[in-house]
Amino acid sequence: MLSAEMVNVIAAARKHGWVLEPEALRLLGAAGVPGPKFAWAKSKTDALAAAAGIGYPVAAKVVSPQVMHKSDVQGVQPGVPDAESLAQVYDRFSRLPGFEGVVVAEMLSGRELIVGAKIDYQFGPVILLGIGGTAVEIYQDTVTRMAPLKPRDIESMLSCLRGSRLLTGHRGFAAVNIPKLTAMMLAFSDLVMELADRIDSIDLNPVFCSPERCTVADARILLAPLA
């Protein structure tokens, strides 16, 4: 069941047609899909305080209903080393259109994956898993399954990826935490089934998977047009 908090997040996002990143991370977190330690800072003072709490280096990302693709406007700054740099980044972001603050988040590491969902015309809610990173559209190493997922679906998705060895351990890279990844995918699948009549698609991109944890670094939820 969707909590009142989740329903509110979706309702508030209606006017933009998509859910802002910090709200999307909050909604996912409430559904058991883990995100980073982060804060939505609406002033420079808040941003600096949040970063001090999280610990440098941090990632800074612009929040704006007019900016869906943040990297297209240089609205993402990973690895901000200290307070001085963060203040500069904050100033730069604040000049972007529709500025509504900055997400300050912990830096994550591990293998980059893409996880997604869409409401397919023929098959309804489907879940995608792929090898992520900047070349995701080039290699297109992804696999799709009809939701809701069962644990064995996730096993088969992993084995169907051409790059599955990147996840199960390869040349000095330790295997990612498959049980955590499985738990995350199952929780995401449950959420997608709950949201099926409200969403068009969801991108969790990237998702960082390490031997310890699997964490959504960025999320975008596109809402379905109201019927």
Partner: protein
């Protein structure tokens, strides 16, 4: 809805028979049923009269006896009236051949006839279709019988959105010696759709494999289709057209762009163990194989041949499509060697592929097949047979077919398909061993069973 009168009619009426134009589709259909099929058929035309010494009925309700199936081949705007006559008369169902509906901008007319039929619980196929082909019983194709390649009765039920693909696939099935239980071209599928026929064929005792040519499903219809298909004991094979269309709506998310319509289609079919054929060759091979062995394997293949080259080619193809050709244990090799005739015992190569050499005789094949039948490392046998080899008799098929009966392991053979080897080929086929006409085809027949496994 009761589909029995549609697919097993004892009496038919053909609406639209022309008294002046023998090439009218209705006349072609009437003539073939009248002359060649064991079904009573009535010609219908509002003008009445006499046609080929038969009374022409002015409407369905004039026909004295019951009518199970009406074939409607009148102008689109006359279809609603003909349909309503059928409903009033209590006809069992209809095939609407006529075009001029959704495919040419008259979705309204199509919706009208679908609504009439739904209201009356009256089943119909079409419109804009060839309709039904039931081998030896009847067909509603407006194609002259002599122009058709007509498969024998068999165990494949085939449903096609396209009539052209259906007729062409009948040629391919016939070349492969594959028989049909029923073939249906559903055209615009205004009322009866893929999932309805999946449900019907699942219950049809003559059908062992259910095959589809699909262009696209309706909203959420794919979900219902795979969920139903996954629960059936019969294999379901699907050939999808429109693989490259990415849909016309703007794609604003990564997921929507990465998970295009066809990608989702293919992945979901694999998830549910529905066998996707990527082209008509695979469709034919898959139906042939699954009509003999309607079940899933892991895909560990034992290859037996009399030519090292064939063994190597087959191994390459297997590897390419994801089948394994595992090494054999020393115990299995020793068992095979002990069973070989003295002639070849020292020259046969017993890795996998097994090359029995051109000097092999029937008993050598039996020894190899029998040992592989018990070997845990393989779950399927692929036999590449070159009949130029003088030691091979025409009994070989019958002699090897016991393997599947005894061990449950499927055996697939390749024999060149030329007339002079027909007796050898039939020796396999009549003993329930599928025979491919190429090495690729034989590998695909194995692959069909692997794809039955939900991925």
């Amino acid at each position: 809805m009761n589909f029995t009168p549609l697919f097993k009619p004892g009496s038919m009426a053909v609406a639209g028979v022309s008294l002046s134009n023998e090439r009218h589709p209705a006349n072609v259909i009437y003539n073939k049923i009248h002359l060649r099929y064991p079904v009573k058929v009535y010609p219908v035309n509002p003008k009445g009269g006499v046609f080929k010494r038969d009374r022409v009925y002015r409407g369905m309700e004039e026909i004295p006896g019951p009518v199970d199936l009406a074939v409607i081949a009148v102008r689109a705007d006359l279809v609603p009236e003909t349909l309503s006559q059928c409903i009033r008369k209590g006809v069992g169902g209809a095939v609407i051949i006529s075009g001029g509906f959704a495919e040419s901008g008259r979705a309204d007319l199509q919706e009208r006839i679908a609504a009439m039929a739904r209201e009356a619980n009256f089943p119909f196929i079409g419109p804009n279709c060839l309709g039904i082909y039931s081998p030896g019983k009847f067909d509603t194709f407006f194609l002259p019988g002599e122009r058709l390649v007509r498969p024998n009765p068999g165990s494949v039920g085939f449903v096609s959105q396209s009539g052209g693909v259906l007729v062409d696939q009948m040629v391919k099935f016939t070349e492969q010696g594959l028989g049909l239980s029923l073939a249906v071209s559903i055209g615009n599928k205004a009322l009866i759709r893929e999932i309805d026929l999946l449900r019907y064929l699942a219950e049809d005792p003559a059908t062992q494999v259910i095959a589809f040519y699909v262009e696209g499903f309706g909203r959420n219809e794919g979900r219902a289709f795979v969920e139903l298909a996954a629960g059936l004991s019969k294999p379901v094979v699907v050939l999808k057209a429109g693989k490259t269309a990415e849909g016309s709506r703007a794609v604003s998310s990564h997921t929507a762009s990465l998970a295009g319509d066809y990608k989702v289609f293919a992945d979901v079919l694999a998830q549910y163990g529905i066998v996707e054929a990527r082209n008509e060759f695979e469709l034919t091979c898959f139906c042939e194989s699954l009509s003999h062995y309607p079940r899933a394997i892991e895909g560990n293949v034992g290859v037996i041949t009399v030519s090292g080259g064939h063994g190597a080619l087959a191994t390459d193809i297997c590897a390419d499509i994801g089948l394994q050709v595992p090494r054999l244990s020393d115990a299995v090799k020793a068992e095979i060697r002990a069973g070989l005739s003295a002639n070849i015992r020292d020259i046969a190569s017993l890795g996998n592929p097994i090359d029995l050499t051109g000097s092999a005789v029937d008993e050598d094949f039996e020894a190899a097949v029998s040992a592989l039948g018990r070997a845990p490392e393989v779950d399927c046998l692929l036999l590449l047979l070159l009949p130029y080899s003088p030691g091979i008799s025409s009994d070989l098929g019958a002699r090897l077919s016991y393997v599947h009966q005894q061990t449950g392991k499927p055996l697939v053979a390749y024999v060149p398909h030329v007339e002079k080897y027909r007796i050898l080929i039939e020796g396999f086929e009549l003993n329930n061993v599928p025979v491919a006409s190429s090495i690729d085809g034989a590998a695909f027949m194995v692959e069909a069973m692997r794809r039955c496994r939900p991925c």
